[in-house]
């Protein structure tokens, strides 16, 4: 909402300078977005009179003027304009001046002739013909009458004004008007507020109801429809004062009738519309729902398809306007209109909003209506319009108002307790002070009974808490003493799952990975890209009904696409290596179509490429489980069933026989689908199992008192035997003194033979209560070797 200060000051005498005003009114709750000064960018442009015009010796299209700008010396200015004659008064941009859009003007030479400035057109000063209808369309602006020379043109026109842009919150429809803001300003400064005096002389006599009748078919969507009739309309530009105000408020002046409707809308917040009365069949206005499939051509020339949810203004034959949005071309006022009808109606806010949205046609009127207007201003507004018609001599107002207002909105009474208001705010505002604040915003206060009567333009005041806010904002939010909540003490902490999640993150970071953050929705195309089976449950998704586009249309059921897309970005930008992780949710519907909230499963995803192999990423995963005290419980096994993973280089991650993740190399085809030309390593781990099985309890074990004995063995086995099988055999047969089994070499090559591999271990024994003797260890090793040989056909290698 743009509010010109000169306009506002007509209703309340604000004396603070603009910056102070902005700060003061912001602190009482009318938020200012910024302000501009009209003509503020024009500097050093003054009135001048042309004394002489001579031809330019070297340019046919230029002339040399001699201009008097009220100084001792006359200036020589070269111009290309053809609309000038000697004696004309014109705007002159002097040397070192600024015109519109920050353009600077300096003295210079034009085809060899010194030009000490520039004569300006209205456009060069940032205005147009709507602002100055008397201006020449393609030429220098010429003042219609003599002006004092050497004066700043902005001052001569009297258009300098500060325009303040307010952000109006949805609870204050009354503030979408100059009057509404003026009322707030008056309350802010505790100064009088002058509501405009509205008087209509109605010289045309007669009676409006003889000209027009109004019927509201749907009073819920149209609580009020007030109309006045104006005869003998004379359409012409409105006077400069009105044009200046409209212009300042950001509305382009058109003609007196249109300007009056806009003026009233800006001043009072009530949109108006003017119809040519001869275009209304039977002179009967019917406010009704549109028919499905009904069409209307709106004033902007577009055909609009309507449906039965929309409200139209109609006559017995046809719709003449989309209610609250835009008038129809069929009833637009033409030059010869004999009589016009001014509509000042109230429509249901959200209905107008939905209609405007459906039609893709959000207008000044609809954006006012959608906040929900007070029906009680409709009558004042139509009278104000009539008053302006008379003031401008735009026509003769017929007596009377056709006012259809079936259910009058009445003011209401709220009770309040000064004590409770103070208790909520933490203040000590006196009863008297509260009363004064309420009266400032036009509430009627009954001090004895602690009640107020709320004017109908303040629908936001519904209960005591709302009154508390009124007290707070005029008492001053800044005067409320900050305190630290006493109340019952509480302990601040993170939950177990939050602590474990943080540990996982910290662990990923210490393993050299960077944390990623991705969108939770993606394209359904990712399933094909990831080669996920057609009948997979992952393809059952929570689908957004109004997405930004297909690419953002489903809530992800796998985190893979996001991490691969991020890796692809890195690869594409030639980052040599990248290691990313993300802890994010997947959204698994309980059923499709979705009728209840989906399961949201927190998932750890790791994605890496670069100088590395499977065992690097597995090491990261193992380290994490170690830190979480659950590595003993976690088991890895060959996993060949995940279609998007390398079938020979992927391990399932299980706990108590239940799989909760996998780690391995991405299938090269999938890497290629993402345009990643190198091996990609992936781990996906469900966080709920991590949180359930993590064991953060630490227990001290006595440090060993007796020495350990270590034996190294190397064996040759079939390449299909896994180290896990070997370790199981060792652990099962090593006896009570086994301390650790450590793999230190795996070798495949010529010396071993095809289909075989050599595996070497360090096996450490230790007893807690004695020094082991040779026999203890030899016996254990014998058992181990025998079983390796019998169960896995292992052959001991000579060292």
């Amino acid at each position: 909402m743009d509010v010109p200060m000169l306009w506002l000051k007509e209703y309340t005498d604000v004396t603070a300078d603009i910056k102070q005003f902005i700060e003061d009114i912001t602190l009482t709750g009318s938020k200012v977005e910024g302000y501009t000064t009209i003509g503020g960018d024009i500097e050093n442009v003054v009135t001048g009179q042309i004394k002489k015009i001579v031809k330019h010796p070297d340019a046919d299209k230029l002339v040399i003027t001699t201009v008097d700008v009220g100084k001792q010396r006359e200036l020589q200015i070269v111009t290309g304009a053809t609309n000038l004659k000697e004696g004309d008064y014109v705007p002159v941009a002097l040397d070192n001046s600024k015109i519109a859009n920050g353009v600077e003007i300096h003295s210079g030479s034009l085809r060899g002739i010194l030009s000490e400035g520039m004569l300006c057109s209205i456009q060069e000063l940032g205005f147009d013909l709507h602002d100055f209808p008397e201006a020449c369309e393609n030429g220098i602006y010429v003042f219609p009458e003599a002006v004092e020379l050497g004066k700043n043109v902005i001052d001569v026109w009297g258009i300098k004004d500060d325009v303040v842009e307010f952000e109006i919150t949805s609870n204050r429809p009354d503030c979408f008007s100059v009057l509404g803001i003026a009322r707030e300003a008056a309350a802010t400064y505790q100064i009088p507020f002058h509501y405009p005096k509205i008087e209509v002389q109605q010289k045309a006599g007669g009676n409006a109801s003889d000209y027009i009748s109004v019927e509201i078919k749907n009073p819920q969507l149209c609580p009020r429809y007030a109309a006045r009739v104006v005869k003998n309309v004379k359409i012409e530009p409105s006077p400069l004062w009105m044009r200046k105000r409209l212009r300042a408020a950001g509305v382009r002046p058109i003609n007196n009738i249109v300007d009056i409707t806009n003026y009233v809308m800006i001043e009072m917040g009530q949109p108006m519309h003017a119809f040519d009365i001869d275009c209304i069949a039977e002179r009967k206005i019917i406010v009704r729902n549109a028919n499905d499939g009904e069409q209307i051509t709106t004033l902007d020339g577009n055909v609009r398809n309507l449906d039965s949810s929309m409200l139209v203004i109609s006559d017995p034959q046809k719709a003449v306007a989309v209610a609250g949005v835009m008038g129809g071309e069929n009833s637009k006022i033409n030059e010869n209109a004999e009589a016009i009808l001014f509509e000042s109606a109230t429509f249901h806010g959200s209905n107008i909003r939905v209609t405007a949205k459906k039609l893709g046609l959000r207008t000044d009127a609809s954006s006012k209506y959608e906040k929900g207007l007070d029906p009680n201003i409709a009558l004042e507004a139509v009278n104000r319009a009539a008053q302006l018609v008379e003031m401008l001599g735009a026509g003769e107002v017929v007596e009377g108002v056709v006012d259809c207002y079936p259910n009058k909105r009445e003011s209401w009474t709220l009770s309040y307790s000064p004590e409770k208001i103070n208790k909520l705010l933490g203040t000590n505002v006196s009863e008297q002070q509260m009363k004064e604040i309420f009266e400032r915003i036009e509430l009627k206060v009954d001090e004895k009974n602690h009640t107020v009567v709320v004017p109908t333009f303040r629908p936001d005041l519904e209960a005591q808490a709302d009154l508390a806010e009124e007290v707070a904002r005029f008492y001053g939010y800044d005067k409320i003493e900050p305190t630290l909540a006493a109340g019952t003490p509480t302990v601040g902490k993170r939950s177990r799952s939050q602590i474990i999640t943080a540990m996982v993150k910290q662990n990923m970071i210490s393993s050299g990975l960077c944390e990623a953050m991705t969108f939770s929705f993606e394209s359904p195309k990712v399933f094909d890209k990831l080669n996920i089976a057609k009948d997979s449950n992952l393809r059952k998704t929570v689908t957004i009904s109004n997405p930004l586009g297909e690419d953002y249309s489903i809530m992800r059921t796998t985190t893979l696409n996001a991490i691969l897309t991020s890796l692809a970005t890195n690869y594409n930008r030639r980052n040599e290596s990248a290691g990313l992780f993300e802890i994010a949710k997947v959204y698994l519907p309980k059923a499709v179509p979705v009728v209840e909230l989906p399961d949201e499963i927190s998932t750890l995803t790791i994605g890496m490429y670069g100088n590395m192999d499977f065992y690097d990423i597995k090491g990261i995963v193992e380290k994490m489980f170690e830190v979480l005290g659950m590595s003993e419980k976690v088991e890895y096994a060959t996993e060949k069933t995940i279609a998007h993973m390398h079938t020979g280089r992927t391990a399932s991650i299980c706990v108590e026989g239940k799989q909760f993740g996998y780690v391995g190399e991405l299938h090269p085809q999938i890497a290629s689908n993402y345009d990643i030309g190198t091996k990609v390593y992936i781990a996906v781990i469900n966080m709920p199992e991590v949180i359930a099985y993590a064991d953060l309890v630490k227990e001290y074990k006595a440090l060993p008192k007796f020495p350990a004995v270590t034996r190294d063995i190397a064996m040759v086995v079939s390449e299909d035997v896994t180290v896990k099988q070997i370790e199981n055999v060792i652990k099962q047969n090593a006896g009570q003194y086994l301390e650790s089994v450590k793999l230190f070499d795996v070798y495949q090559g010529k010396q071993i033979g095809k289909g075989l591999k050599s595996v070497a271990y360090s096996i450490t024994f230790r007893a807690a209560d004695k020094t082991l003797v040779e026999q203890d260890v030899t016996e254990a090793m014998k058992q181990i070797l025998e079983h390796l040989s019998s169960q896995l056909q292992a052959q001991l290698r000579d060292k």
Binding site: L27, G29, K31, G34, S170, R172, G349, K357, E370, K423, L424, L425, G426, T427, A463, Q464, A465, A468, E469, A472, D478, I480, E481, P482, T483, L484, A485, G487, T488, T490, V491, G492, K493, S495, Q498, A502, M508, I509, S511, G512, C514, E515, A516, M517, S520, F521, S545, N546, P547, L548, S566, T569, N570, R573, N575, L580, Y587, V594, L597, E600
Partner: protein, 339 residues
């Protein structure tokens, strides 16, 4: 003989003082003290001495021997120290070459901000609450006093799954879920992902993060709201930051306010970053609306509370000087490694 010993002694001291290398030292030792050495040769002649002279000369010879041994030892130490020093010099390296670093990963800047803010509130006695991203219309709107036809419910802002289920547009529904549990008093903050139907550009993202706070207890005042948030702002932005509360409107709080903090760039003088205002808008807050308390089963006559909510991307972007929001979601390691 006495004279001879003295000569040997003096000569030895001179020799030792001139020796620079270990090999010379070894040679000198043999020459002085060895079996064929000078001192030994003198001692061999002891038998020729008288009974009276013998102990005197013997003692002197011993003293000379001990002193030479001592000096030999000293010379050895000195030579060793010199030799070691030479060796150290020979081992010199270019210490300006870079060290070997254990490659460490990096937290996402958003996580840094979320964790830091969460920790501030944990220190003030708050717990961290969580709630679902895919949320019921009831929790996201209705229970927050946003009635059916409120403009905020308009499709242009909200992603819907169906009429009743949507992607939360704010973290505020977590407030309702916490209140519904009925465990009082409440002090929680809830950071989380929220969704709004905005096209992706340098300052907009359909997915972003908010942090919500809620305190409900007996006798909570607007002064308490101001106090808590002022402490928070000082913790986050430093001791010198000033806060300003302006009246505003939110359906779920009454009275409502917006809190501004003095501009981090100019400290409140007014600059390009704060558009000359000196202040930057940080969060929305207010006293929990009695209707909201009531709908969640809390008696507004007995309890009161305050709530606040803030966008976190802006905090991160301002803190790190990030000018394009899209960088936060691209995950380029060149970007992530800067934090």
């Amino acid at each position: 003989m006495k004279q001879k010993l003295k000569e040997i002694h003096n000569k030895a001291l001179t020799t030792l003082s001139e020796i620079k290398q270990m090999k010379e030292l070894e040679e000198a030792k043999v020459k002085l003290l060895g079996k064929k050495g000078e001192l030994t040769a003198v001692l061999k002649e002891m038998g020729k001495l008288s009974k009276e002279e013998r102990p005197v000369i013997g003692q002197l010879a011993n003293e000379v021997r001990q002193d030479i041994e001592k000096k030999l030892e000293e010379a050895k130490k000195h030579i060793l120290a010199v030799e070691q020093q030479i060796k150290l010099e020979a081992e010199k390296i270019d210490v300006t070459m870079p060290g070997r670093k254990c490659e460490c990963g990096h937290k996402h800047p958003m996580s840094i901000v979320i964790d830091e803010i969460s920790d501030i509130f944990i220190g003030m006695g708050y717990e961290i609450a969580e709630g679902p991203d895919v949320e019921k219309d009831y929790y996201n709107f209705e229970a927050l006093n946003i009635p059916k036809d409120h403009p905020a419910k308009d499709e242009q802002d909200t992603f819907y799954v169906n009429g009743d289920i949507l992607l939360r547009t704010q973290t505020s529904p977590v407030q309702v879920r916490v209140m519904e549990k009925g465990k009082l008093p409440i002090r929680v903050v809830c950071p989380g992902t929220v969704y709004r139907s905005d096209e992706v550009d340098a300052t907009h993202s359909p997915v972003f993060h908010q942090l919500e706070g809620l305190v409900v207890d007996k006798g909570i005042t607007m002064g308490d709201l101001k106090g808590a948030l002022a402490v928070f702002a000082k913790e986050l932005f430093g001791e010198n930051v000033k806060v300003r509360f302006r009246p505003h409107h939110f359906p779920f709080t009454e009275p409502s306010a917006e809190m501004d903090v003095t501009c981090f760039a100019c400290g409140g003088k007014g600059c390009r970053v704060c558009k000359g205002e000196g202040y930057i808008e940080l969060l929305g807050c207010g006293m929990v609306h009695p209707k909201v308390l009531k709908m969640s089963g809390i008696d507004p006559e007995e309890y009161s509370g305050f709530a606040f909510g803030m966008g976190l991307e802006r905090v991160a972007m301002q803190r790190y000087g990030i000018t394009d929001l899209r960088l936060l979601f691209e995950n380029d390691v060149k970007f992530l490694k800067q934090f």
